[in-house]
Amino acid sequence: MSDLRTRSDLVTAARKEGDAVVVAVRGEIDLHNSPQLRGDLLDLISRQSPARLVLNLSEVPYMDSSAVAVLVESLQKLRKTGGRVYLTGLQPRVKGLLEIARLGTIFVIVADEAEALK
């Protein structure tokens, strides 16, 4: 396991674990700060080309559609190298928005990081 560097305050921790990159995100995410998250995630994908990107959202109580767009863009970039995106720790408001966007069908939603890393 090795820690990875990121730029924004939204990412509190990022580490490489086997073929996975695990990213802990914290805070409310809307159009004001979603570009920062986008920069961090796309940079991590470019540098690490992980087979699995695991996003721990347990400290994200709120996100808007611009944050959803960042998740989808990350997935689309990762797919080019055959990777997948795992989401864990979904809080009710975030889960509700993802359901409206029907994103459960394209992301792998898991109970915890361990399940994503199996």
Binding site: E28, D30, L31, H32, D64, S65, S66, V68, A69, V72, Q76, R93, L97, I100, A101, R102, L103, T105, I106
Partner: protein, 157 residues
């Protein structure tokens, strides 16, 4: 404006215990205003009888509507005006909270744009979908110099 209206900047609206009949906010199209305006609207909804979940729905829709104004009506400009008004809907009109969002942008009615069914691969348009799914009413009312979105969330829905 009514006597019991409350007018303030987004940074100062969230005063504990405040329960004005009407909340009027003057913001700019800077996305930095999204969170304080959203929280102020959620607080107003709670104070006027909406459930926490219903208030959260209103907050998300206010966020999405304001973001759409910035991105589309104002083509990304962050220094243009957006006015937000929250007011009670009288009980004999069904009760709840009405939120009006006024801009002075290009006047395009987002509701007339095609492609509003959720598509997980292309999340653009999700804001409009939220408005339609989460609010009981959401209507764009063209203005001579812009657009006004009027949304209603009923109590107990």
């Amino acid at each position: 404006m009514a006597e019991n209206s409350k007018t303030s900047s987004p940074a100062t609206v969230a005063k504990p215990g405040a329960s004005a009949r009407r909340l009027r906010l003057h913001a700019t199209s800077d996305p930095a205003n999204l969170a304080p305006v959203r929280r102020a609207c959620e607080k107003y909804c709670i104070e006027h009888g909406l459930s926490p979940n219903a208030a959260n729905d209103v907050g998300l829709c206010v966020n999405e509507a304001m973001a759409n104004v910035t991105r589309h009506a104002y083509a990304g400009a962050t220094d243009r005006p957006i006015d937000i008004v929250c007011e009670e809907v009288p009980t004999d009109q069904g009760g709840g909270v009405r939120v009006s969002i006024r801009d002075w942008g290009n006047g395009v009615n987002p509701a007339t744009l095609p492609g509003c069914e959720p598509n997980p691969e292309t999340p653009g348009g999700l804001g409009l979908i939220c408005l339609r799914r989460l609010m009981d009413e959401a209507n764009y009312v063209p203005q001579p110099d812009g657009m006004m979105l009027v949304m209603v969330k009923r109590k107990g829905v």
